[in-house]
Symmetry: C2
Subunit: 423 residues, 2 copies
Amino acid sequence: MTDDKRPQIVVLGGGFGGLTFCQVFSDPRARVTLIDRQNHHLFQPLLYQVATAGLSAPEIAQPIRSILADRQQVEVRMDEVVEIRPATREVITRQQTIPYDYLVIALGGVTTYFGHPEWEAFAPGLKTLEDAVRIRRKVLLAFEQAETATDPAVQRRLMTMVVVGGGPTGVELAGALVELARTVLHSDFRNIDPGQARIILIEASPVVLSNFPDDLAADATETLRRMGVEVHTSRKVKSMSAEGVELDNGEKVESVNIIWAAGVGANPLMRQLGVELDRAGRVKVNPDCSVPGHPEVFAIGDNASFIQPDGRPVPGVSPAAMQMARHVARIIEEELGSPGRDPLSRPAFRYWDKGSMATIGRSAAVAWIRDIHLTGFPAWVAWLVVHLLFLIGFRNKLAVLVQWAYSYFAYKRGARIISQPRP
Amino acid sequence: MTDDKRPQIVVLGGGFGGLTFCQVFSDPRARVTLIDRQNHHLFQPLLYQVATAGLSAPEIAQPIRSILADRQQVEVRMDEVVEIRPATREVITRQQTIPYDYLVIALGGVTTYFGHPEWEAFAPGLKTLEDAVRIRRKVLLAFEQAETATDPAVQRRLMTMVVVGGGPTGVELAGALVELARTVLHSDFRNIDPGQARIILIEASPVVLSNFPDDLAADATETLRRMGVEVHTSRKVKSMSAEGVELDNGEKVESVNIIWAAGVGANPLMRQLGVELDRAGRVKVNPDCSVPGHPEVFAIGDNASFIQPDGRPVPGVSPAAMQMARHVARIIEEELGSPGRDPLSRPAFRYWDKGSMATIGRSAAVAWIRDIHLTGFPAWVAWLVVHLLFLIGFRNKLAVLVQWAYSYFAYKRGARIISQPRP
């Protein structure tokens, strides 16, 4: 591409891990190329609000090259990775072959259906802006169709929404959907009562948010039920069709709106590395986050399976990806300063667990930071503040704040737009 | 649908005309059904800002049923009109047949290509949110592709944008595009200089904004040129392909980004009325805005061809559509109050010309209100204030104000999102 003779670092993915790497890596002795399929960094934690018409897509996305505009040694390429060749140290994209001296794999996860890829057609996942806009369209359209339908059975099926998976995304989706139906859409229809909509959350564990401390998981389950969500715990989906889902206890739910929030797997490209993967398809990385046998290749975030010294895995959350990115940036900077250094002398990554939080609805959330457990209004305020602070860009912070204030005081949502005509 | 025995008014279209009718018609002795293909009212004057990444789609759109939530006698149906049957007083939609006592046709215009429908594939028009998002995607993607391209000829073609039509939409698009390239994208790329992008505006008249007073049209032409737009006046498009356009003087312009802002025609459904249409396909309405031979049917806005007593036509602008809507609402209200009244005694519509305005770029616009002609900064402020005031909904006003302030002070744009993956 250029005659630049500096070592080439190639970063795959502009999510939390890849972007953080490019932001903190500051050694001018190397050049960095970031490759992403999309032109934007997506603030995934708020994606469910786009899916439920609370925020518009551009409010949680920012052009990657604009975020990195002042980092002169970083080049951003909108392109798709099709192959990784560790043997020859090359990445093959749709448009070209890029050699690397260091490779940082931060491609993130993909939605997986536990051996039922055919379910994707009935139950979209929620990983990209397109996913979110598609879910928003389906949900809003269902109410529009119910309003003009004359058969009560059809109306019921249209007004039944099933969320599969009771992790943070599933809980947040179910809460936002029940509020959409019961407060936002409430007085806008003439022939249906949106308050009669059924929101069903299906979770295989005995509680939702099973990775949270027991008291918070119980509180979240209880809060969802009080808001009107039908929470089915210890239940799995047995089969799925265009008509609805069947659960493992034989119960059938008729629904045209099924949303999949149950499985996140690693990118299929990981298999090309020829190294050991965990069950979710993530690379079992060395303590320094490098790929076994390839000290010049690192896998971070949802592409890495990292077991901490106490035996617990690092969870697949954005702070972990960002911490790994900083760790890898520091390792590469040090090696550029003292070439020939033994990779075995690299420091091990240590995960700093900041706790976790999930919002459930208006003034309702759960949060824990070490020994501090919050529920209800305090947890909700903590959630709002943390998410506003971590949103990238002043404009997005301000725009999201405006939307949230509007939703809170007006009981409305700012992005109730069906953005594509019906087929 | 119901056992309601009140007279049924059917309104086709939720644009400026149809929505205004539903907002001002307040006689409880009739019920009103509004039918629109979309679930949202679109603030068309700002659509070009969605196309050029300044605003996000939900910021200029509002759910129709939410705007009309407190008008209990109004029912909103998201549905598509496929046939109008004046003889039997019925409207056929995709989903049902709706009889009417009064019909208000406010379907708006469609993009027309002056006998060259094949040009649509190369040069999308700008009428809907989907159009705007598609143009935004094409424009932003062109710069991304130019960044990775290696052939300078390919880069030049990708960075050449052609706008056909120098009316307000074309002028606003060309101005916004040249600012996008020269200030917003300016420092975000490494291999191309977005400031070298060519923006070409083609207009058949000797000046742009030919419906404006001469001094303002001349000022707009001059301002665009100073901003770097290549303005070709007295030129028409002779042919078009995926490679670019050929003008009537034989000049060829290679471009992958052609935007059509030249022709607005009436909805093809008008032909089903069996009445006389003008060249643009609009109904030559009676002085009361009714359709000749059908006193119970009204055509307003871009569906009506209305010649004023002084021989000048009412222009196809939103204030005209809204004024006609109010006029028709008053006529129907009066007739409901005194049934059997002679339609010939209806008052004639009178257009109140409020003037017109078009923005060109940062601190640059033209505006005229009767004898007052404004240019430059005063015109631009007037444009901002008027557009903010007329935007529907407090949230949209606030959100757009935030975006504009951001763009003005940060020289950035808030919606630089390529919202669908490349094929």
